[in-house]
Amino acid sequence: MKVERAKLTWFERLYIPSILNGFKVTLRHFFSWKRSKVYGDKQSSYSAKLTMQYPEEKWPVPDGYRGAPYLVKDEDANTKCVSCQLCEFVCPPKAIRITPPGQSGEADREGAEKMPKEFDINMLRCIYCGFCQEVCPEEAIYLLKDYAITGENREELIFNKEKLLSLGGEDKRAYAHHTQDGVTEGIKKWEKKTQEAKDQPAFH
């Protein structure tokens, strides 16, 4: 098929007006005095909207943003993950790789029975879908707000258990909905159940 090209008029063939037309959006933002939500408070001292000085300056990540998945701890700094491997199963790009503990269970405290021996997330594979967070029965994995995952080689970007736990830390969001009426009872995983079992009259 032959495409008929429209013949340009004399004015169009000047090109300058078209270029200026294209700059219109840029220039409008350049001279805009309105504040943008993205720059948030960072910009309060500026009257004009200027280019953000990333990475020295960072934009406030909105709530509900799905960043990198990390393992979170409970309020006593205990590992919450029990190596159920549901996240590994559900992860669409197979970014998660868990090594189960084997017979020993690897548990590090009273009342706990099972913990992962290894827990790797390949951040190059992760697509930040949040399925792992959704499926986790122990609320042990959360997509936090990290979005700039960089490294010098591929191995570096496979985060292991220690790294995921330290990056996840004790994220408040991880147990926010366990707090009622301002009273932070905390989840203190297994503590309640262990106590309950201890209080029970011995059955003989």
Binding site: G102, E196, F203
Partner: protein, 563 residues
């Protein structure tokens, strides 16, 4: 099975409004005829009644109540001997009700209620559904619901039935009773007493099938717990079967505990190689690593069970020191070069100058190809006997998987190993110049390293030993889980097994390179696949020919041949 010969009258019952004709009697757990139960009738009608304590191969006790169904039966016959009829003349059916509360439907346990003619079984009615919900709710009263750390999750009947028949809410608000967790019940079994639903399958299995009355229930009411006698350990050769039949995650296998979630496991039909019984098994593997054996039902061989020693005998398959490269006198080489050199060597060998020590753990197909080579050279062939202790159930003395096959194919003498001394004498006198050894360490059986120096030694094996160390040609082979083939068990049942794993390194299924050798040396031809090879063998070996075996006909459960 006795039931096949006797003709059994049938009765008609209605399951969910559909008329089905079912036999009046069916086989019970011991193989005797007993009146058909509601659960069996529904199964024949294609409707599964959920159940925990019922197991087709265990005595019926009816204690879990999961199989409650609402049924209706004809009324009691009047003085004229006839049951009450409807206006149109059909038999009147009375749905069961509580006698003191006629508006409440009453359930019966399907596993222990026998059918009567014209019975109506309301297997999916709202009444039945409500009964199931209530039973599940009460089973879950003290259940910890720790599915996320429970090895049974994914194959747990409590999970499955809760999804299918349960309700999401529990009316029980009190504290749950906590029972002991991770109890060491025996050397291979860990009990989580909280998860137990007290179906007593484990107790009945070990008492009635194994004959070791080791388990019982102690304590009362909500504190009921499975236990052994004080100070005793649950330790017989069949304990791990209780892990399979336990419908929940109460009994767990130490070997499999916290190793892998079951939904990752790929299942492959295979045969246990620990003794000549040839129990049917299922291999569970993930990413080329084997995690467990489970017994696979075959009523002609092992029923639902297998022994613990066979079940745990698989670790060698994944051993680090598996043979994985082809070597000849000069060092590492490749299949084409090694096979060409061996073929050249064998083609120049004189009749009678070759001896073969095959293994009675090899497959029928491999032994058949070896017998072809043997015939070509008039070679002396034999295998090495392997004896262990037999037990009273399934494990037999002969620890070679395929002794019967080796004898039928003619590689092994009737008294296994009786010709080894002739082979030894042959080497000593210099008559035998080439020795082919498959899967055995002949240095342990009288043919020592010094003697082996006198011959060209062609060895194929899976794990290193003294013989593989001094082989002139070493061909790495496959474990049964890494290839396909058939074994003939001690009673003459030919059964096939499938490939679950990839072999390490250069290792190759023995039948593939044996086929090439046999082709180069004897001109054998005509098949490319294991199916073709089996069918070829079935046409030549008398016992297989008489039974008209073909690979396809073997099916999943194998076929018997005349011994």
């Amino acid at each position: 099975m006795a039931a096949k010969d006797i003709s059994i009258e049938t009765v008609t019952v209605k399951v969910d409004g559909r008329s089905v004709e079912v036999p009046r009697m069916m086989l019970n757990w011991e193989g005797n005829l007993e009146p058909t139960t509601v659960l069996q009738a529904c199964k024949l009608a294609g409707i599964e009644i959920p159940h925990y304590c019922y197991h087709p191969k265990l005595p019926v006790v009816g204690n879990c109540r999961m199989c409650l169904v609402h049924v209706g039966s004809p009324g009691r016959p009047g003085p004229d001997g006839k049951s009450p009829v409807n206006e149109d003349g059909t038999t009147k059916i009375f749905p069961m009700q509580l006698p003191y509360e006629p508006q409440t439907p009453r359930g019966v346990i399907g596993c222990a209620t026998t059918i009567v003619p014209d019975m109506e079984i309301y297997a999916s009615s709202p009444e039945t559904k409500e009964m199931r919900e209530s039973v599940l709710e009460s089973l879950l009263i003290n259940h910890p619901l720790d599915c996320s750390i429970c090895d049974q999750a994914g194959e747990c009947k409590l999970q499955e039935y809760s999804y299918d028949h349960g309700q999401a809410e529990s009316g029980f608000e009190e504290f749950k009773v906590h029972k002991p967790k991770a109890v060491d019940l025996g050397p291979r079994i860990t009990l989580d007493a909280e998860r137990c639903i007290l179906c007593t399958r484990c107790i009945r299995f070990t008492k009635d099938i194994v004959g070791d009355d080791a388990l019982g229930i102690v304590n009362r009411g909500g504190y009921n717990t499975i236990s052994t006698f004080p100070g005793e350990s649950f330790n017989n050769n069949y304990t791990l079967n209780t892990v399979d039949i336990c419908p929940v995650g109460a009994l767990t296998s130490d070997d499999f505990r916290f190793q892998m979630r079951v939904w990752f496991l790929k299942e492959t039909k295979s045969i246990c190689t620990d003794c000549g019984s040839g129990c049917n098994v299922m291999i569970g593997s993930r990413e080329n690593k084997m995690y467990r054996y489970e017994p696979r039902q075959n009523d002609a061989v092992n029923g639902h069970w297998m022994c613990d020693s066979g079940r745990l005998n698989y670790k060698w398959i994944g051993r680090e020191d598996r043979l994985s490269s082809i070597t000849d006198v000069k060092g590492k080489t490749s299949w084409p070069i090694a096979l060409k050199n061996i073929s050249d060597h064998l083609s120049n060998a004189d009749k009678g100058s070759v001896a073969i020590v095959a293994s009675a753990r090899q497959t029928n197909e491999e032994l058949h190809l070896l017998s072809k080579l043997a015939k070509h050279f008039d070679a002396i062939t034999d295998s090495i006997p392997r004896k262990g202790k037999a037990d009273h159930l399934m494990m037999i003395e002969d620890r070679n998987t395929n002794t019967t096959g080796a004898q039928l194919i003619g590689v092994t003498s009737k008294r296994v190993g009786s010709k080894l001394s002739i082979i030894k004498k042959g080497i000593e006198s210099g008559k035998v110049k080439t020795l082919i050894v498959f899967g055995e360490d002949v240095t342990k059986h009288g043919i020592d390293a010094k003697l082996l120096e006198k011959v060209t030694l062609i060895v194929s094996d899976i794990l290193p030993n003294e013989t593989t160390k001094i082989a002139d040609f070493l061909l790495p082979g496959c474990a049964h889980a890494e290839k396909r083939g058939t074994f003939t068990n001690v009673k003459g049942r030919v059964q096939k097994f499938m490939k679950a794993l990839e072999p390490p390194g250069d290792a190759l299924s023995e039948w593939e390179f044996l086929h090439e050798l046999a082709h180069n040396v004897t001109g054998l031809d005509g098949f490319k696949t294991i199916e073709g090879l089996f069918n070829h063998m079935a046409g030549e070996v008398k016992a297989f020919k008489d039974a008209e075996l073909t690979w396809a006909k073997l099916g999943d459960h194998g076929l018997d041949v005349e011994l």
